[in-house]
């Protein structure tokens, strides 16, 4: 899932400093668009500064034709396939901003800040999946937990859990458990006054 190659998730449809939505054709949707994946995109008028976000929703919109095909009695399978793959409506991917950082000499965004970016990305900018290194360095600190936990209109508990499971893959196998324990400890401190929520999130990230 996480890889070192440059992998485009989509292009910006709408954006704000809090988050953005990017779109891609339905043909492209795959593991790059997993719930909880880390993505990055340069912000407006600054090629070096990238916002880092978490995918929290992937939406496949309907249109008139789809509505009709759904109602139709019998449809030629080729028409269905064609309609599924060559739709004119993009798949929308919603991203929650959790930090930003600057590219290093190799183009990697490492040692980012766990706070919202100064500006949003511009429309149609390419959104990329973060590399394994970027995920590793970004998750050395836990400050972005709070952004996720406090985000409204986002399934924050599930998102955080998914993001952490995703991030753990960036760690060598023998360090994953420890990483999860550290994350859990940080959560335990953050959610100390909401023990029900804490135990729920812990149940979600608990390594098998």
């Amino acid at each position: 899932m996480v890889s070192t190659q440059q992998e485009i998730v989509g292009r910006i449809l709408r954006a704000s400093t809090k988050g953005f939505t990017c779109g891609t054709s339905s043909r492209q949707v795959d593991t790059r668009h997993d719930f909880g994946a880390f993505v990055k995109v340069p912000i407006a008028n600054d090629g070096d500064c990238c916002v880092i976000g978490l995918i929290y929703a992937v939406e496949i919109k309907d249109d008139q034709l789809v509505n009709e095909l759904v109602m139709a009695d019998s449809v030629n399978p080729n028409v269905l396939l064609d309609q599924r793959e060559n739709r004119m409506v993009p798949v929308e991917i919603d991203v929650l901003n959790v930090g930003y950082g600057y590219r290093d000499a190799n183009g990697a965004v490492i040692n980012g800040f766990h706070s919202l970016p100064p500006r949003p990305p511009m429309s149609l900018t390419d959104v990329e999946l973060c590399s394994i290194y970027e995920v590793f360095t970004f998750t050395q600190r836990y400050d972005f937990f709070r952004t996720v936990i406090n985000a409204s209109d986002v399934p924050s508990d599930d998102l955080l859990a998914a993001a952490l499971r995703y991030a753990s893959q960036a760690y060598p196998e023998n360090q994953r458990y420890e990483f999860m324990v550290h994350c859990g400890q940080h959560l335990a401190r953050m959610l100390a006054n909401d023990l029900k929520r804490l135990s729920h999130v812990l149940a979600l990230i608990r390594p098998a």
């Binding site: 190799n106 360095t137 050395q140 360090q175 324990v181 335990a188 100390a192």
Partner: protein, 564 residues
């Protein structure tokens, strides 16, 4: 912490040796941080999550690394806390290792309470604490260097008495010069190692020439071979310092039976016993004031032989006294009955060929010998012990005063520092008699006449408060009686914190040392009194057994040399 920073260098990211990597990124081990507290009540330290409360113990040393100073503290309480009390009603499932690792140290954590005792600033000199470290300063386990900075190294006046808790590789060196300068108390329940500990202290004083000792050895614990509780036998002081220790005995028979060497026998003349000596037995022999008055009267009328004459109990004699003095014959008869037991004590004789007091003073002052007076079977009779100890001490003390006064302040002419060891000290220093007895006087006059006490006792609460307050160094093994603990801690700063520590010492071979001879209270695991200990004395700063023998054969070691 250092993170990999080169995204092209895979080795840096995922090193082959993962444990080395983890070590490199983990912070240095520490106990926790200061989160609150006060100078009077001590500091509260929140434990880091890696620290298990189970690995800690009261009495252990910790060091708070402040901005400019190190604060030396002793753990005196350990508690469990949580950030949200609701967790108590719905505790997490700790059998799950993941949940256990997450919750412990975060939502539920340990705190320790530590009492700051000393601080060391830039000048490396330990000073009493007058302030506390600020918030969130790091708290570490004390290391060897920390302990050495406080207690110094072993040298001609510092003597190793044991190791601090959990720090076996280091040692606590007490200042013997300061130890003997004021009275010393060794306390603890029966069987906690008081006699062993006292022997360690005495051996130190003798080895390092910090003074001479007079030991009233109630249970034959100090002179020659001693059988320990586990059946093995350990060496007495005479065996360790053959030329610096003289054993006198009151009971030759017992010494022979025990196969214990002794240098000579001590006898006390009945005619030398004065009414003042009898008065010291007031509590032990339940003598009334009237009986003591009677003793004085008899002494006046009959002279030195008053005891012998009373014991003979001639009816005419008794009547004569009753008629001519305000003393009732009933009182006389009661006194006579009390003193009858003197006849069973073979060390009391009508006349003595030589003056035992003179002999002991000569040994102590001229020959600079430590003297162990073994009581043999008389150790079981408290009356005999008290009578003899008081009798000798009163007279030796007089001579000491005389010698010190004649020296006119010239230290070189003064007699050597004398440390007198007594057991069952509360019988001598009971509040009812402490004011009048010689031991009370010595304790109170402090070091004026170069005589101090080493009192060994299992019931310090029975000792007069004023006398206790004059005890410079208190060494105490486990005590469990509340009143005894109070008595020992009375007047010690930071005592509240030591209470928990004191009542939780091991039942053997552990003690808190506090007061004059140590810069701060410290819990020690007492040095084992064994072959290794004996051997160390030989090497102790060139003052051990071998050198001693050499000196003796060379015929030096005369009276001019001063133990200082």
């Amino acid at each position: 912490m250092q993170y990999p920073d080169d995204s092209e260098n895979l080795d840096q990211w995922f090193p082959r040796d993962a444990s080395a990597y983890m070590q490199a990124v983990l912070p240095i081990p520490r106990l926790g941080v200061v989160v609150g507290g006060s100078l009077s009540k001590g500091l509260v330290v929140k434990l880091d999550r890696g620290q298990s409360v189970e690995d800690l113990a009261v009495g252990r040393y910790v060091v708070v690394h402040g901005t400019n100073k190190r604060f030396f503290c002793m753990i005196n309480d350990i508690s469990l806390n949580n950030t949200n009390p609701a967790i108590q009603s719905d505790p997490p499932d700790i059998s799950d290792p993941f949940l256990s690792a997450v919750y412990t140290g975060t939502a539920a954590y340990g705190t320790i309470h530590v009492a700051p005792m000393l601080s060391i600033g830039d000048d490396d000199k330990p000073k009493p604490v007058k302030t506390i470290p600020s918030h969130f300063m790091e708290v570490m386990n004390a290391n060897v260097e920390d302990v050495n900075d406080v207690f110094g190294h072993e040298d001609e006046s510092h003597f190793n008495v044991g190791t601090p808790l959990e720090l076996d590789e280091t040692q606590i060196n007490i200042d013997l010069k300061r130890l003997v300068e004021r009275s010393v108390g060794v306390f603890g329940k029966s069987g906690t190692g008081k006699s062993f500990l006292t022997r360690v202290l005495l051996a130190g004083v003798i080895a390092k020439n910090q003074g001479v000792n007079l030991i009233f050895d109630m249970h034959n614990d100090y002179g020659w071979e001693i059988t320990s509780e586990n059946g093995s036998s350990v060496k007495g002081l005479k065996q360790l310092f053959s030329s610096k220790v003289t054993i006198l005995t009151l009971d030759v028979e017992s010494s022979r039976r025990r196969n214990a060497k002794f240098d000579s026998e001590v006898k006390i003349g009945l005619d030398e016993i004065e009414p003042e000596d009898i008065a010291q037995l007031r509590v032990t022999m339940s003598l009334s004031d009237a009986m003591i008055d009677a003793a004085h009267t008899l002494h006046k009328r009959w002279g030195d032989s008053w005891i012998r004459r009373l014991l003979k109990g001639n009816v005419d004699d008794i009547e004569e006294v009753a008629e001519n003095t305000p003393i009732m014959s009933g009182t006389l008869l009661a006194l006579q009955r009390r003193l009858e037991r003197f006849e069973r004590w073979d060390f009391l004789v009508a006349e003595t060929p030589e003056d035992s007091v003179e002999r002991i003073v000569n040994l102590l002052v001229e020959q600079q010998q430590s003297v162990v007076l073994e009581f043999g079977r008389y150790g079981n009779s408290l009356e005999a012990y008290i009578l003899v100890a008081n009798y000798l001490t009163r007279r030796i003390h007089e001579r000491y005063i005389d010698k010190v006064e004649r020296a006119l302040g010239d230290k070189a002419m003064e007699p050597p520092q004398l440390l007198i060891t007594i057991e069952e000290a509360h019988k001598f220093l009971d509040p009812q008699i402490a004011r009048a007895t010689i031991f009370g006087i010595i304790a109170r006059e402090m070091r004026k006449y170069n005589v101090t006490l080493l009192i060994v006792d299992q019931r310090p609460s029975g000792i007069d408060e004023e006398v206790m307050s004059q005890i410079g160094t208190r060494v105490t093994a486990l005590l469990d009686n509340e009143r005894d603990i109070n008595a020992v801690l009375n007047g010690i700063s930071g005592a509240a914190g030591l209470r928990e520590v004191l009542s939780r010492l091991d039942t053997k071979q552990q003690a808190i040392i506090m007061g004059h001879a140590v810069p701060m209270p410290v819990v020690v695991k007492t040095r084992a009194y064994d072959e290794q200990f004996y051997a160390s004395l030989i090497n102790a700063n060139g003052t051990g057994i071998n050198i001693d023998k050499a000196r003796k054969t060379l015929g030096s070691g005369g009276g001019e040399r001063r133990i200082r």
